[in-house]
């Protein structure tokens, strides 16, 4: 009960933050900044408490609130923590204060509106993660568009209006079909059972024909794939990242992109398990294509922000690969990889923002030899680079390694059974690791070493605020890298739940067949 209250406090603290900012007199930007930071910090502390109290051995929801909201339609206000979202909620709350602190210098115009929008998107993101009711999820999911539209559009770069409209119109298109699909899902569940409910727990049991599942999965998957983004729905991402202010990029890379993969793991696959099983080869193929294609595009960029934007596409491909493996280790690895990417990409975007504030250019060619000019900056940048490419002892290694292990785990028995395609995909995915090391190290080499070129230089090295932000970011990077056991245990029940729902579901025509279905064989092989 106490936990449930705390979770609600965490969810609504951002709204309180907005109220506080609005109450402050205009022009008092210093106080707006410090109060915003304070509220975000309080949110993180409470979330950390919730995380510590989260019991990894309990399957299902913890800290649950369940109240009727639009009772006539079976919509309830139902939020809670489970293995799927607990790490992501912690990540969101952790990045909150860093995002606010990172924008202290960069944002000089309409400061109150800016921090109000940061709080608003924080509210929407947390709500999306903790929502356990399909309509509530959708409402939070769509709400994220409003603050992001304004953050990119008001404080962005030169082509900000094009970028923000592209972002909104892309994501809204996916969502509108998801809305149709979710109405259909709830309605047919009601037809079949007489139970009008939007609660996820009820809908997991919905009995749909394979054709229905296929259509609905396609609608949900389109929406999620745009958000991830998976190739070929990724073209909005580089534009949004490049034009967004640093804060916008950090929020986008840190949390927003995880919405797509979270949607797949929490809703897309478990709601339509039979169709998902059939779609898995395609998902796996798209995931591997995203890994390799994203990495290749990152290799040839000349804009620093674009390199990291394309590397995001590649890194999120691993998440999808882990999910598609349907292997316990792979699924857990996918969740860890989400968190890891959230930390490293957020850190790299923050660092790009810091150098941009000083040198006012994002052209890679303009830079060189920063290691001599800005030694502290370079050390942090190198550590984050290595974490991004998955150096052991960092979180990137844990995520990528587990995902690949899961992919091979699942592919090997299939290979023995005569189906080598998954194994081929897994092997190609490994090449993504090499490509990743290539583009990031090449980037770091040109950026940090060689002849010293500092545009608008000489410039000052990191100040104390910036050092503190980056040092704070590195703590979880190494924590997950060195002691992955603890966070992984928190996700175990969710991974089992996902595996049971998706891999355990039998194809309708296979119900009576003698050999156990493919997925079951995989599960046994994994044990």
């Amino acid at each position: 009960m106490a936990d449930a209250v705390l979770l609600n406090v965490v969810l609504y603290l951002p709204l309180l933050g907005i109220a506080l900012i609005v109450a402050l007199p205009e022009g008092d930007d210093e106080r707006v900044r410090s109060w915003s930071f304070g509220v975000m910090l309080a949110q993180f502390v409470i979330t950390a408490m919730l995380y510590l109290r989260f019991d990894p051995n309990v399957a299902g929801l913890q800290a649950e609130t369940n109240l009727p909201w639009i009772a006539d339609w079976g919509v309830s206000y139902r939020i809670g923590l489970d293995g799927y979202n607990v790490l992501l909620v912690l990540l969101t709350a952790f990045l909150g204060p860093l995002v606010v602190a990172g924008a202290f210098n960069a944002i000089r115009r309409d400061v109150r509106l800016f921090y109000a929008m940061v709080f608003f998107i924080q509210f929407a993101m947390l709500g999306t993660f903790v929502a356990q009711d399909l309509l509530l999820f959708y409402i939070f999911w769509e709400t994220m568009l409003i603050p992001m539209f304004l953050i990119i559009g008001i404080w962005g770069g030169e082509r900000r209006i094009y970028a923000t409209l592209k972002f909104v119109l892309y994501t809204a298109f996916g969502s509108i079909l998801m809305l149709a699909a979710l109405i259909y899902l709830v309605w047919s569940h009601y037809q079949a059972t007489g139970n009008l409910s939007f609660a996820l727990a009820d809908l997991f049991g919905a009995r749909l024909t394979l054709a229905e599942q296929g259509w609905l999965l396609a609608a949900f998957a389109l929406s999620f794939a745009i958000k991830v983004p998976m190739v070929p729905f990724h073209t909005w991402l580089p534009d949004a990242h490049v034009e967004a202010p640093t804060t916008g990029s950090v929020i986008l890379a840190g949390v927003l992109l995880k919405m797509g993969t979270y949607g797949f793991i929490k809703l897309g696959f478990p709601l339509f398990p039979q169709a998902a099983q059939l779609a898995m080869p395609a998902v796996m193929a798209l995931a591997v294509v995203s890994i390799v294609y994203g990495a290749c595009l990152a290799l040839v960029q000349t804009d620093i922000k674009k390199i990291i934007a394309y590397s995001s596409i590649s890194h999120l491909g691993y998440v999808m690969l882990g999910l598609a493996s349907l292997d316990l280790i792979g699924i857990q690895g996918a969740i860890i990889q989400m968190v890891s990417h959230g930390l490293t990409a957020a850190g790299l975007f923050l660092m790009v923002g810091m150098i941009y504030e000083r040198c006012h250019t994002r052209e890679l060619a303009a830079y060189g030899g920063l290691a001599k000019a800005l030694p502290v900056y370079s050390v942090f940048f190198m550590i984050l680079t290595l974490a991004a490419i998955g150096l052991p002892t960092t979180s990137g290694f844990t995520g990528e390694f587990l995902v690949l292990l899961g992919a091979f785990n699942a592919a090997w028995p299939q290979h023995l059974a005569g189906d080598s395609v998954p194994l081929v995909w897994a092997v190609i995915a490994v090449s993504g690791v090499v490509l990743g090391a290539m583009y990031m190290l090449w980037f770091a080499q040109r950026f940090l070493y060689g002849t010293t070129r500092v545009p608008h230089g000489p410039v000052a090295d990191l100040n104390r605020r910036e050092k503190l932000i980056l040092a704070a970011l590195l703590v979880p990077v190494f924590w997950i890298g060195l002691a992955p056991d603890e966070p992984m245990r928190k996700t175990e029940q969710a991974a089992l739940h996902f595996q049971r729902l998706v891999a355990g579901a039998q194809q309708p025509d296979a119900l009576a067949a003698a050999p156990p279905p493919l997925a079951q064989r995989r599960m046994e092989a994994a044990r």
Partner: protein, 461 residues
């Protein structure tokens, strides 16, 4: 006749009439009329409270059996249109200095409340005319441009055409059934008789014209642009809500079938798509809202595809939310100066710098009209499409939703002007008039309540 029943049952109408009489007396006998706004606002508030209270206690009566009856949903419908009229009244003072505005608006309101209780086509016709004729005058009343006369004439002629079609349809209906009751219309819906079908189609066309459904929409952009802000607000919210809620009453609980479904779905879809696409090209705020309202009329008529039971709930909720949001946008426009300048969309550039609160209010309204959650416009749209899907028209629901997607862009463009473009030089910050702030509050407070807890109102409807 039982007078006490009559007094209670017709309380909203009687209160409006009382206000109207006082207005006319003040106008006639006072050398310098004062208190017109106060009297009309008081009359509308009293009528709203009466209607809402009677709806909540579930009062039902038929003071004129066969012609006029009330029940809780009729009262709820009346309360909705009356609430929407309030901001229009409050906004009116800056544009209209004289008495005719208030008395015309109030008489139009009497007509609107009348049609929401009509049981026979006689009452319906009376109410529709009483509702429409004052608006023809209102469009011209504060005329500032010559083009306005053309638009008003267009509106008058097409309004007259709608009336003629209604009368033609009703006479066919009378010829076929020998009855003028609204119930007779429902019984015609699934007959194959050509005369009956002609009657149904003609009556429907009259409603399409009044609600500005494609291809009967051409009067709307001109009339909306010609009228001043409060009258445009009144036309796009109160009149539209009144017409649609009357249509719900007309159809009763009958589900549509056969050809009628296709007719309704295709015309609504055409309105949604065309309204949303044409709005993109507009440079005048009111013209843009006109096309937006054509699209919204499409969503509202979509609700008729759904089952009869959920129809009233969906239309009433949608009309209320849509009306509140439209009015919120109108109330937050820059204060009245040069009307033509005020109407230019370009003049909203940099509006956030000049008037942050008003710009935020317009932003709320635009996001809500675009149907983006968590604003109440989303719940309203969800309700309609849920009903369509539950009736089994999955394809129409998907097409309608995709059509609604087309509308997002032009609402976002308003935001882009307000927040992301520098202000044109020469514009000075103008504080919102106190009355406009009142109108904003009237729209905003219910909207916030509907955002946080839509379930409350839905249970009552």
């Amino acid at each position: 006749m039982n007078w006490s029943v009559l007094l209670v049952a017709m309380a909203p109408e009687i209160l409006l009439l009382a206000g109207l009489v006082i207005l006319i007396l003040i106008d006639t006998f006072m050398a310098r009329p004062r208190g017109l706004l106060a009297v009309s606002v008081a009359a509308v508030i009293a009528a709203t409270v009466a209607a809402a209270a009677l709806a909540v206690i579930g009062y039902a009566a038929a003071p004129f059996p066969g012609h006029f009856s009330v029940d809780s949903s009729a009262y709820a419908a009346k309360a909705i249109v009356l609430v929407l009229a309030l901001p229009a009244l409050l906004l009116g003072r800056d544009d209209f200095r004289g008495g005719p505005f208030y008395s015309l608006l109030l008489s139009s309101m009497v007509g609107t409340t009348l049609i929401l209780s009509a049981d026979s086509f006689l009452t319906l016709f009376l109410g529709l005319e009483l509702m429409s004729i004052p608006v023809y005058v209102l469009v011209l009343l504060a005329m500032q441009r010559v083009e306005a006369t053309e638009a008003a004439l267009k509106y008058l002629i097409l309004g007259g055409t709608a009336t003629a079609m209604l009368l033609m349809g009703v006479s066919l209906l009378f010829g076929y059934t020998g009855s003028l009751s609204l119930g007779a219309f429902g019984s015609l819906l699934d007959t194959g008789n050509p005369m009956a079908q002609a009657a149904v189609v003609l009556i429907l066309l009259a409603f399409f014209l009044k609600a500005a459904i494609v291809p009967f929409h051409t009067w709307a952009p001109d009339a909306y642009e010609a009228a001043t802000v409060p009258v445009t607000g009144f036309m796009s919210t109160v009149i539209k809500a009144g017409v649609l809620l009357a249509a719900v009453r007309l159809f009763g609980v009958n589900s549509l079938s056969g050809r009628l479904v296709e007719l309704l779905a295709i015309l609504s879809l055409a309105s949604i798509v065309w309204g949303n696409l044409a709005a993109i090209r507009q440079t005048s705020f009111r013209r843009m809202i006109a096309y937006s309202s054509i699209a919204h009329a499409g969503y509202l008529f979509y609700a008729f595809l759904g089952d009869g039971e959920g129809r009233f709930e969906a239309v009433a909720f949608y009309a209320l939310v849509y009306g509140l949001m439209n009015m919120l946008a109108f109330a937050s426009l820059p204060a009245a100066g040069d009307d033509v300048e005020r109407d230019r969309l370009e003049n909203l550039k940099g509006y956030f710098q000049r008037a942050p609160f008003a710009a935020l209010m317009i932003a709320v309204a635009m996001f809500s009209l675009a149907g983006i959650p968590p604003l109440p416009g989303f719940v309203a749209k969800f309700l309609i499409f849920r009903n369509v899907m539950e009736a089994g028209y999955t394809l129409y629901a998907v097409l309608g939703l995709v059509g609604s997607y087309l509308g997002i862009y032009f609402y976002l463009r308003v935001l882009q002007y307000m927040f992301m473009s520098p202000a044109p030089s020469g514009l000075k910050p103008q504080p919102q008039a106190a009355l406009a702030l009142g109108a904003i509050a009237v729209c905003l407070v219910p909207a916030v309540i509907l955002t946080v807890y839509p379930g409350g109102l839905l249970r009552g409807l």
